[in-house]
Symmetry: C2
Subunit: 342 residues, 2 copies
């Protein structure tokens, strides 16, 4: 008995039926475009729907339906505000919408608990499938739900403890490419900036870079910094290296924030044309920076498309062993990585 016109209860099929003067099953037929309703009745019902502002309830529908498909897909990414995640979300959600599915998106921020909590939430919402960029070290907690019929595609990092499709890049190889590029230009003092070693991709990249350095006879412990999470940490770490008696003549930044950080620090010191820089993962305006940023690029578009393909193939009943798609990385030379050693 609220005096303010509170939200009126939404009309149901029964209400529509009453207005149209038919049984509510007939309304259901009309709403679902089922045959067996005369044109006259169909119009009558459509009119009632219009006047009442009736809106079909997918939740209720889904409860009763045979296939139990919600038309919902989950996308748990590292950070939907970040370029890489956002690009993936875009291509996956395009594929989803082409199939009439909606996408539940969320950011994990490398927090394992958040991943488990959000997966739980998505499962209880009965998503048809899940795209996951893991924050956990082990996804075996998902095995049961996968067995119960919820396909999961793991992206960016290989799944651990879980038999699932995945889309990754060869991080070690990509990092090695960056190092080889610099070695070939004569660099021997090469700094490495990496993220937390607990993150699988970060670990693989650092290992790949260090292995390449060793092979090239350019290994130097004081030029390797890991565990860098922010722009500030990246700048500080590079700054410390540049303050050494024998500073690096080149830097490999193993994540996009670190590439940005390195570019800033070099620029702040006026060294952007003296010290070479190669980043892992492409950046939006890398070509406009001075010098242009040389990077080992991941093909985000392909990654997203492939992930969507795998996910929807499973949803279409495609059975078979998990598929591991590895997308190629490519070195994009724009200037910063082509500065020769002094």
């Amino acid at each position: 008995m609220s005096p303010t016109a509170g939200p009126r209860a939404r009309p149901t099929m029964r209400d529509v039926a009453a207005v149209a003067g038919v049984s509510f099953k007939t309304v259901s037929r009309v709403v679902n475009n089922e045959p067996g309703v005369s044109e006259a009745v169909r119009r009558e019902v459509a009119g009632a729907i219009e006047t009442l502002g009736y809106r079909h309830d997918r939740g209720a529908s889904n409860l009763r339906r045979g296939d139990r498909r919600t038309g919902l897909v989950g996308a748990l990414l590292q950070d939907v505000g970040n370029d890489f995640s956002a690009a993936l979300l875009r291509s996956v959600s395009d594929a989803a919408h082409d199939r009439g599915a909606a996408v539940l998106a969320a950011s994990l921020d490398e927090e394992a608990d958040r991943e488990r909590a959000l997966v739980g939430d998505l499962v209880s919402r009965r998503v048809d499938g899940l795209l996951l960029m893991p924050a956990t070290q082990d996804q075996s907690y998902l095995a049961r739900d996968v067995a119960d019929g919820m396909p999961v595609v793991v992206i960016d990092r290989p799944p651990v403890g879980l038999d699932a499709d995945s889309v990754t890049v060869d991080n070690a190889a990509g990092a090695a490419t960056a190092v080889h590029h610099l070695l070939s230009l004569g660099h021997r003092r090469i700094g490495v900036l990496g993220d937390l070693d607990e993150i699988a991709t970060a670990h693989a990249r650092r290992e790949g870079a260090e292995a390449a350095l060793r092979e090239g006879g350019a290994s130097a412990a004081e030029l390797v910094a890991a565990g860098l999470r922010s722009d500030a940490q990246g700048r500080a770490a590079l700054g410390a290296m540049l303050d050494l008696a024998d500073p690096p003549t080149a830097v490999v930044a193993l994540r996009n924030v670190l590439t940005e950080a390195a570019a800033r620090e070099l620029r702040a010191r006026g060294l952007q044309h003296q010290v070479a820089l190669v980043g892992f993962d492409d950046l939006p305006m890398a070509d406009l920076v001075d010098p242009g940023l040389t990077v080992v690029a991941q093909d985000v578009d392909t990654m997203g498309t492939e992930a969507a393909r795998l996910l929807f193939a499973r949803l279409d009943g495609h059975d078979g062993p998990p598929e591991q798609v590895v997308v190629a990385t490519s070195l994009v030379a724009r200037g910063s990585g082509e500065i020769p050693a002094r």
Copy 2:
């Protein structure tokens, strides 16, 4: 009778109850953490849940519940892969997750039909509320659903034909700021690059810029290009202006892709230090470009936070007239906009 281990049917509360040897209402109590269950039974039920891999079904739960809240929020943005939309999505989804709500995200790409279709989808999924960056010219089609209790917050553009909260920036004023900045440096030949005039924000920006130019006595029809949608179109339009006998000494780019395009074109012509450039909307690495890109920045963070605040206030029952929040823009001088007139 499929030979392949197809998705087993998910266990229900009844199955759990059978295993635990209790009634299924007791299971419901345990699942919802309701009081009135002995510790012993609680543990028994928890064990059964574990062995069966039971997962609560929110859809079914919600159907019977009194409040009919789905804990779902829709976010219809221009393009979740684009920086501006992605930043908004991030802050809104943070606020949503803080409240235990999940976010359905989708991109509209300025397609009015897509907006209407997706809104319909979200409504039939019974989202509790909706954040909308409109692609339509008129949102009156939403009035009924708003009246039926679904709060809508319109972002980036003022709502048309709909009484709803909104979060916008003063586009005309922002564009005027950019022009004034250039006028004050002595520029009189100022090029303007704008998006489709049908887009409300684009229209307002162009009008604001042109008004400021007129006031400054620097109006020049041949230096105004609208309807530019892509990097290529932006570059072409600016290129044409620069090829004029009396080319512009400064450019205002009214959208971030156009700012990028302008920076590219100027750079390609080696004019990046001769022709001034001010963009509307900030860009990721604007400080690393040479020269740094001067922009009129929109405070995306505040926009997202405000939008979330408005939406969740409505969901918390806050009643009252629609609120129109206008977030201030700010000129961020980084170099490109401070090049003086020749």
